[in-house]
Symmetry: D2
Subunit: 101 residues, 4 copies
């Protein structure tokens, strides 16, 4: 069963790494999909954490979207060798687990 505080922590950790990854990857060729997913993932994780923190009735639905976005971002980031991508794939996987019902 989902633990709200675990979800919040996982979303915020994921948001931070996605911000870093979206920034660091701007210097690399072939990272367009990675940057796009990291931007979306940072935004979705940020809102997910906030809706969970405030006990919103829409938190569960945003968690579902967060799982999907994190899984796609993890898949894309795991294709790359850069340190930021490895870290990002790792926290995305953890966040997807933490946000599952």
């Amino acid at each position: 069963m989902k633990n709200v505080n675990v979800s919040i922590e996982a979303c915020l950790a994921c948001m931070v790494e996605c911000e870093k990854c979206a920034t660091d990857c701007l210097t690399m060729e072939g990272h367009k999909a990675c940057i796009k997913l990291c931007r979306d993932c940072a935004d979705i994780c940020a809102l997910c954490a906030r809706l969970c923190a405030r006990g919103s009735k829409f938190a569960d639905e945003l968690c579902s979207l967060c799982v999907k976005c994190c899984e796609e971002c993890a898949l894309e980031c795991s294709k790359h060798e850069m340190e930021c991508c490895k870290k990002c794939a790792n926290v995305c996987k953890k966040c997807a687990e933490a946000c599952k019902m």
Copy 2:
């Protein structure tokens, strides 16, 4: 069929009125549900507009959540007589229509 620019405009107009309504209603008794929904609605509309603007692959799913949130917020705000609530209910209904597929 959904027109992305129409959705973006509707989301942003809705976000602005929800911010105003959540603020103005703080002086009123019996507006707790209204304030909570307005906060959620402002946040969800804001992200919806941004994901639509950037052509995110998650835009459609956030639009679906936006429709649901706007409909609930419109229903709640339409129970109240304050000017901010009437305005908010109106833009919420328009936003829900604009974000439907």
Copy 3:
């Protein structure tokens, strides 16, 4: 000297408690100023953490605003006896310290 990772963690912890405090205080009379400050503080802390994480050239200026907002929010929340207000005042003070240059 400011440590970016410490600032990010402090901003995110502050954002979470401000979300909770703004929500819990909706049931209380006389908490209008507290709710308003918590909403602003949650938003400013959220953006501050993200600009710090991505190494934005505007991060320092948002940190300065964050310090001011956190100090005001801590002052207001420390007037109240509710558990959420005490917690919030505490993390706001820590965040203000962490974001100072």
Copy 4:
């Protein structure tokens, strides 16, 4: 003198074009600075619009930061020939004007 509604509209128009520009420029070489500024500018404009809409006591300070960010983003985007950069430079200039005191 600053008109709040004009500032809000200008910030939201700027946010939308910055989102588009940050996305479209991912396909181009030599647009790293442009993408970074557009991401910051979209985020700062979004929060600025919301703080203005809710009558926050921190709105003026965020407006000042918004002016600075918009001016830098306009300067960078005006170096490029892409349609999205021209549009973005244009709305950034308008937003900087609208947010000046």
